[in-house]
């Protein structure tokens, strides 16, 4: 029998097991107490039970929903009264995007925004609608908040925009 086997066999785990049985709940309880206590005390604490509804997740600074429905977007698009802004990376935009959309990749917003600012200003659209892809994609929301901060009005988010637009068979372009 080798040394490892000898050593592994020279002790019953019952004592550490008994200790683990009270230490595990004690550590978890301590973590909960610290988490709740510090969260209560700190200035940027969060609600213990959060509102993860779509309207709350895509809210502006004052808590109002920034979401716009596909039907409303389609109506504005047909009247040529909106400007789409694609928040995805340039490579994904090049693979395909909503017809007429500008590209301001959120992760390179500083580089792309100055270039796009004139077109955003000059478009004279009733609404600016940002989009990305995926129910939990937050790029469009971050970009919409940024555009609002930059002074643009009526900025909205089409949630999961690329997918819902394609699924509705509405116009897209590549390149």
């Amino acid at each position: 029998m080798n040394q490892a086997t000898l050593s592994m066999g020279n002790r019953s785990p019952s004592k550490p097991l008994r200790r683990a049985l009270w230490q595990i709940p004690a550590l978890v309880a301590l973590a909960v107490l610290l988490a709740v206590g510090v969260n209560h005390w700190r200035a940027d604490g969060i609600a213990l039970v959060g509102d993860w509804s779509e309207d709350a997740r895509f809210a502006d600074a004052s808590g109002g929903s920034m979401i716009v429905s596909l039907d409303r977007v389609r109506e504005l698009f047909e009247r040529d009264a909106l400007l789409f802004v694609d928040a995805r990376p340039a490579s994904q935009y090049a693979d395909g995007h909503i017809q007429g959309a500008l590209n301001i990749p959120w992760q390179e917003v500083d580089r792309y925004f100055m270039e796009a600012a004139d077109r955003l200003d000059g478009a004279g659209a009733d609404a600016i609608v940002t989009y990305c892809d995926g129910e939990s994609c937050d790029l469009s929301h971050e970009l919409a908040l940024f555009l609002k901060d930059m002074g643009f009005e009526n900025v909205r988010v089409l949630v999961n925009g690329w997918t819902v637009w394609k699924q509705a068979g509405l116009p897209t372009v590549e390149g």
């Binding site: 020279n10 002790r11 550490p16 230490q23 550590l27 973590a31 709740v36 937050d138």
Partner: protein, 148 residues
């Protein structure tokens, strides 16, 4: 000869304990500093019910901090190593589950910044390596600690 083997075994154990302690301490800081961003990362895993997201996001980093302290200080090791191994199993299962269903999530493992990049196979492999170290520690604490 036997003494040499025992001291090597002890050295490996202490190195593993300090390493995992460091990993948990490092993992906890950014999440404790940015609770809202970490809650979003937890939400994006789409595993927990909405009502449990914030409490889990608040508690997990503090649990990691406590584990880090216990492992480095060498106290409450049966509880700390068992939770460490259990947590890593849950992390790997959550990452693998979301990879399987094609959800492109950010790991939120060490940073709440989305610039950390989406979780990939490498993230899962890294956690499997941590799991191996943690499982070794758990076995050592439960079966061999008398020799320390």
């Amino acid at each position: 000869m036997r003494n040499l083997e025992i001291s090597r075994s002890k050295a490996a154990y202490h190195a593993a304990r300090l390493f995992m302690g460091g990993v948990f301490l490092y993992a906890s800081f950014d999440k404790i500093l940015h609770p809202a961003a970490f809650a979003e990362a937890v939400y994006n895993y789409q595993i927990l019910p909405d009502a449990a997201v914030n409490l889990a996001a608040l508690t997990l980093p503090w649990l990691e901090l406590l584990l880090g302290i216990c492992l480095i200080a060498g106290v409450w090791l049966p509880g700390a190593t068992a939770i460490s191994t259990g947590l890593l199993l849950v992390f790997i299962a959550a990452l693998a589950y979301n990879k399987m269903r094609g959800l492109d999530i950010h790991c939120g493992c060490f940073s709440t910044e989305t610039t950390e990049g989406p979780a990939g196979h490498w993230t899962v492999l890294r956690d499997v390596a941590f799991l191996a170290v943690s499982a070794y520690l758990t076995l050592y604490v439960f079966f061999r600690q008398k020799a320390i």
